[in-house]
Amino acid sequence: MLIFDLSQPGRGNPALAPAAPPPADDIPAAYLRETPPGWPEVSEMDAVRHYTRLSQKNFSIDTHFYPLGSCTMKYNPRVANVLAMQREFLARHPLAPEETGQGVLACLYELQEMLKEITGMSGVALSPMAGAQGEFAGVAMIRAYHRARGDEGRNEIIVPDAAHGTNPATAAMCGYRVREIPTDGNGDIDLDALRAAVGPQTAGLMLTNPSTLGVFEKTIRAIQQIAHDAGALTYYDGANLNAILGRVRPGDMGFDVIHVNLHKTFATPHGGGGPGAGPVGVSERLLPYLPLPLIACENANYRLLDERDRPHSIGRLSANLGNVGVLLRAYVYMRMVGKEGMKRVADIATLNANYLMAELKAAGFAAAYPARRASHEFIISIKELKERTGVSAMDVAKRLLDYGFHAPTTYFPMLVPECLLIEPTETETRQTLDSFVAAMQAIRAEAESDPALVKGAPYTLPVRRLDDVKAAREPDLAWRGA
């Protein structure tokens, strides 16, 4: 049932709109709309009922274990929502002068400073609205840096083959050619290939660490060295920061840029796909290029820095300050976790991942990198099961839904066949992990005895398995009337 199916011409909610505004008779007719948009006309109650019921069809952290690798689906503290949605914060206009926003700016400034400390970078800008935009800012700064030095020949960005899709896409958006380098059998970057790839054409190297394979790059210093020796700058994709909080700081390791995903590491909600926030941090030499605005504290007064303060900035990425409401939620979370808690987050995220990997291994599942420690996540491959039974990673994922678990990330990184990238996060109990293992075992048993059962999953959700091919071949992207 679509909301359109509940519509009745003439129905509406008069109390939600101004009573009877005068006609806009001073605007020439040529500018005006002739027929109203084909929106549904429903009562407030029917809308509330429709969307309440729709919401119940979702899996979410608040309802299910959600071990979606690379996404750090941890608990989103309710208090952060409450405090970020205070009326004064919500009502403030983005262009209202700074004196009307000293409270919110104080939070943002302190957030900026805390992120500097956690990442070990010299400066942080909060405005990128997601990880990918943080990446964009980072690569744009790398570009600005080389340009400022007249080093115009650098037109390549090096990206490991296991990288998240946003890395190559960002490099391309910044006008770079992307050069992929392979990963070795242990999950580390192939150093020889890297050495062979760098050169005067290399503008930068984008590295995710722990990598999307769920392991810490053991040769990270060497990678860093090779890139820097070639005159390239190094980019740290901090989406996996949860694994290293309080243990390793990208800035200390010599990285030039990092973005962090507040909607992962710092517990802001994912909202069914966003909003997130992807602040970007930089080393000393990239400071002048940080995107605007930045927040400064001058004589206990908070102020936004603009083009006049920072003439070399790469510019702006959003019309305003970025996703302020998300930033406030992260701020609340970070103040609650505090000095003592940061490392503990990484500790327990890592403990949970290694425990779950150990248990799954014990249950007969193949870890992609069995000799390695898991970081905060790890990969198992269903390849062997698939070869024997025809049950694929996707089938296992769908069947997990029937068992009341959101599926891990499937088929990413593409490097590992039939992979499931599993990230439990630190907010899950051992009991939950154990019940997940039990479900995986049960599904394996089903795959052995009745593969069709698993291949037909899910059975208990609002819909059975959906036809993606049809969706793409015959796109139905908007309701066009009954």
Binding site: R33, K57, F59, T63, G101, C107, E117, P275, S318
Partner: protein
């Protein structure tokens, strides 16, 4: 530790299963030389303390009577919107990669796309971009991709100046040239005289803002038809609430706009010092596969029952990587849900009333303030719900004096348009009562305090053929 459920017993038992002696040992692959010392962060606050802190911070920011717009608009948001959107199932889910377990989010996004398509008069919509400004940048990239040869875009000077900056930042790296189309300083709009200059040149697109940054209505039919006559695509930049009253881009000129983008904030997002908002984008059917961002489609399940799923993913970074239509991944999904609720609750008639009330209130505001000697509206063309007023006293001083009365009195536009002198962009949405408007006018009258005629400006600005 907050949010971590492990007891010491749990940890001991888990380490035993792993076969490690300590949590420390789990980090043994990290080279010693890269480890850091203790972080210098504030000590943890408990929920009670952080609540007190944040309540004090909010109280510090206070409550203001707002007359600023300039890209972000104060509207009444039905209470049901955020009460529902913050339900855990919507608030704490992620991108619906597992469609069967995400039918709630997916159907809402499908309904969102349907309503946005209907609102703008276009065939298809994506499921949000970051904000209006970055959506404009994405539209520019899309137009260039679709055009194949031209890498130039004609951008009126009346497009929101910060959006112009953002677009430049984002598309700048791809050798795309943004050419500024001058505007008529008297009318406050883009005019045929200015277009004439570009006749016969190759452009991938002409951007048309409606209303433009000054609140002024552009002659969208004329501009659209001109562009199409030149083989140039039209990127419409619209305020979604204005479309309760104004002609949808799909109906501009003979053929309608090709791509439509805008800032979705007016549809249910609170002002929030600037975010989270969302960018929207709709387009013609044939451009669908050039779109950036998530798109939801309706399909069937194994039993033939309808359901919803992310689709056309071959455009996206997680499949196409370096060749994707955009690098966008996480978008502003929850804001799309809020907008869907906003649109469903208001309905077409409700939106029309909001739009009309915005216009009427701004009209009332302008009538009252321009009755003050020394205060004039700067432009002559029709407006939607904001307008530039010129003052004969320093704008910053006036705004400061209004602030002393609890009023955020508009936006000083001289930073971007120095040619306008002391001028502020004011806006009165449906949230302003007659008393609010009167209060503004009275204070302004008192502050301005004397009479002046601002000189009418007769030049195109910036001079024709200027570029960034």
């Amino acid at each position: 530790m907050p949010f971590i459920p492990h007891t010491d017993d749990d940890i001991r038992a888990m380490l035993a299963c792993i076969g490690a002696d300590s949590v420390e040992e789990l980090f043994d692959e990290i080279p010693a030389e890269v480890r850091c010392g203790e972080l210098n962060l504030p000590v943890a606050l408990n929920e009670m303390a952080v609540t007190r802190l944040m309540e004090e911070r909010a109280a510090q920011d206070g409550r203001w009577l707002n007359f600023s717009g300039a890209g972000a608009y104060e509207h009444h948001i039905p209470a049901a919107v955020w009460q529902l959107v913050t339900r855990g199932e919507l608030y704490t889910a992620y991108t619906p990669y597992q469609a069967e377990a995400s039918q709630g989010t997916l159907q809402i996004l499908y309904e969102f796309q349907s309503m946005m398509a209907a609102l703008t008069g276009m065939a298809v919509s994506n499921a949000t971009l970051y904000d209006g400004a970055s959506a404009l940048a994405e539209a520019v990239l899309m137009a260039v991709r679709a055009h194949k040869s031209a890498k130039r875009i004609l951008v009126p000077a009346t497009v929101h100046p910060v959006w112009q900056e953002v677009t430049r930042t984002i598309v700048g790296a791809q050798d795309i040239e943004l050419v500024t189309l001058p505007y008529c300083t008297e009318g406050g709009h883009s005019v045929a005289e200015a277009l004439a200059h570009y006749e016969g040149q190759e452009f991938a697109a002409l951007v048309i803002p409606q209303p433009n940054f000054f609140g002024v209505l552009e002659e969208v039919d004329l501009l659209t038809d001109w562009a199409h006559s030149q083989g140039i695509r039209v990127i419409a930049v619209v305020n979604p609430v204005s479309l309760g009253l104004l002609k949808p881009p799909g109906r501009w000129g003979a053929k309608g706009a090709d791509i439509v983008v805008g800032e979705g904030q007016p549809l249910g997002a609170p002002l929030s010092s600037g975010g989270p908002y969302f960018g929207f984008m709709t387009c013609r059917q044939e451009l669908a596969r050039q779109m950036p961002g998530r798109i939801v489609g309706r399909t069937l399940d194994l039993d033939g029952k309808p359901g919803f799923t992310l689709t056309l993913q071959a455009r996206e970074q997680h499949i196409r990587r370096g060749k994707a239509t955009s690098n966008i991944c996480t978008n502003q999904g929850l804001l799309a849900s809020a907008a869907t609720l906003y649109m469903a609750l208001l309905g077409p008639q409700g939106l029309a009333k909001v739009a009309r009330a915005c216009h009427a209130n701004t009209r009332a505001l302008l009538e009252q303030v321009t009755a003050i000697p020394g205060v004039v509206r700067l432009h002559s063309e029709p407006y939607f719900h904001e307008a530039v007023i010129a003052l004969d006293v320093p704008a910053q001083e006036v705004l400061r004096a209004l602030r002393a009365q609890g009023i955020v009195g508009g936006v000083d536009v001289s930073r971007w348009y120095p040619e306008l002198g002391d001028a502020i962009l004011v806006c009165a949405t449906e949230t302003r009562t007659p008393e609010d408007i009167q209060r503004y006018a009275e204070h302004l009258g008192r502050i301005v305090g004397r009479r002046n005629q601002g000189p009418a400006c007769t030049k195109l600005k910036p001079s024709a053929a200027s570029k960034w």
